[in-house]
């Protein structure tokens, strides 16, 4: 499946009106209806999650493919696999929530697609791999921080702050490994 499915899934989710189990946004009575977000907010939240899931799929593929490249030292590989595990947990959370909302979680692309899109063939050293990973983590952190304001459900906002924080830790670790200075200006992301 490609990201073109994002909107379709969102529309499907709107029709079903069951969202984020445990979040309290369920159809039960007129009383709970008043607490629902405006029509379309639910579908928008699902669409945002689908984009996030596509990002997580890409991150998992990047760490998996780079990890198997033979370019990483054992110590770096160990860290890369930890980060890959984080992304897999993010993937599972997002896919579960999308499914609970009635959507079909966006599926990963092929390894060949990811290798082309991320230009993995140009990676020649551990530094190249870590530099790419740092860029992807920085982009993901910004992507999450920059979308939070568009999310309606508060529990989903919480999840996105968790995702964002994890990616920030990844970026910081990788940035330090590259001996790059910590930016002096605050508000590094968003």
């Amino acid at each position: 499946m490609t990201t073109s499915a994002i909107e379709q899934d969102g529309r499907r989710a709107t029709a079903r009106r069951t969202f984020l189990g445990g979040a309290g946004l369920v159809l039960a009575s007129a009383g709970t209806l008043a607490a629902l977000p405006a029509l379309g907010a639910e579908a928008q939240d699902v669409a945002i999650m689908q984009g996030a899931l596509a990002l997580e799929h890409e991150g998992i593929a990047a760490y998996r493919l780079a990890g198997g490249s033979g370019l990483l030292s054992p110590a770096t590989l160990k860290i890369a696999l930890v980060f890959k595990g984080h992304h897999e947990q993010h993937r599972d959370s997002l896919a579960k929530l999308i499914g609970q909302a009635g959507g079909a979680p966006v599926q990963p692309k092929s390894d060949a697609d990811y290798a082309k899109e991320l230009n993995l063939g140009t990676l020649k050293s551990e530094t190249d791999v870590v530099t790419l990973a740092a860029k992807l983590e920085q982009g993901a952190t910004n992507a999450y921080a920059g979308q939070v304001a568009a999310i309606s459900d508060h529990k989903l906002v919480h999840l996105f702050t968790q995702l964002c924080s994890d990616e920030a830790v990844h970026w910081t670790t990788l940035n330090n490994a590259l001996n790059k200075p910590i930016p002096t200006q605050a508000y590094l992301f968003g």
């Binding site: 990201t3 994002i6 909107e7 928008q44 984009g51 990002l55 899109e117 860029k135 982009g139 920059g146």
Partner: protein
Amino acid sequence: MSVLPRLSFPCGVAFVVAANIFAATTAWALPAGDATNGKNLYEAKCGGCHSVDENRVGPLHRGVVGRVIASASGYQYSAAIKKLGGTWTPERLDKWLQGPQAVAPGAKMFFTVDDPAQRRDIIAYLVSLTPAGASH
């Protein structure tokens, strides 16, 4: 601005590319941004989903200024953005970056760049990304 392609293109192609870029750049009423800073901002803020030369979560950006909206080859656009019509100009990109959902409700993108100076710099960088095959 030195983004017009040389006449090494087939004549018709060169004319179309030049006309699009000319229209995009001459219609730019925004103050010029810093493309160098824009590159850094682009990589940090847009790089999670976009690349210059490859479609990823979002479409590739080389040649986006002056390009017909929703026309990056191989990228599957939302119905919302397909309906927009016209070409990407700096002004339209500025509005887009302020709120994609306000421009095209139902589009895939929700990320916003709220700082006008940052938007100007990012757009200046996008202007500098000449279409593949074009040269300064």
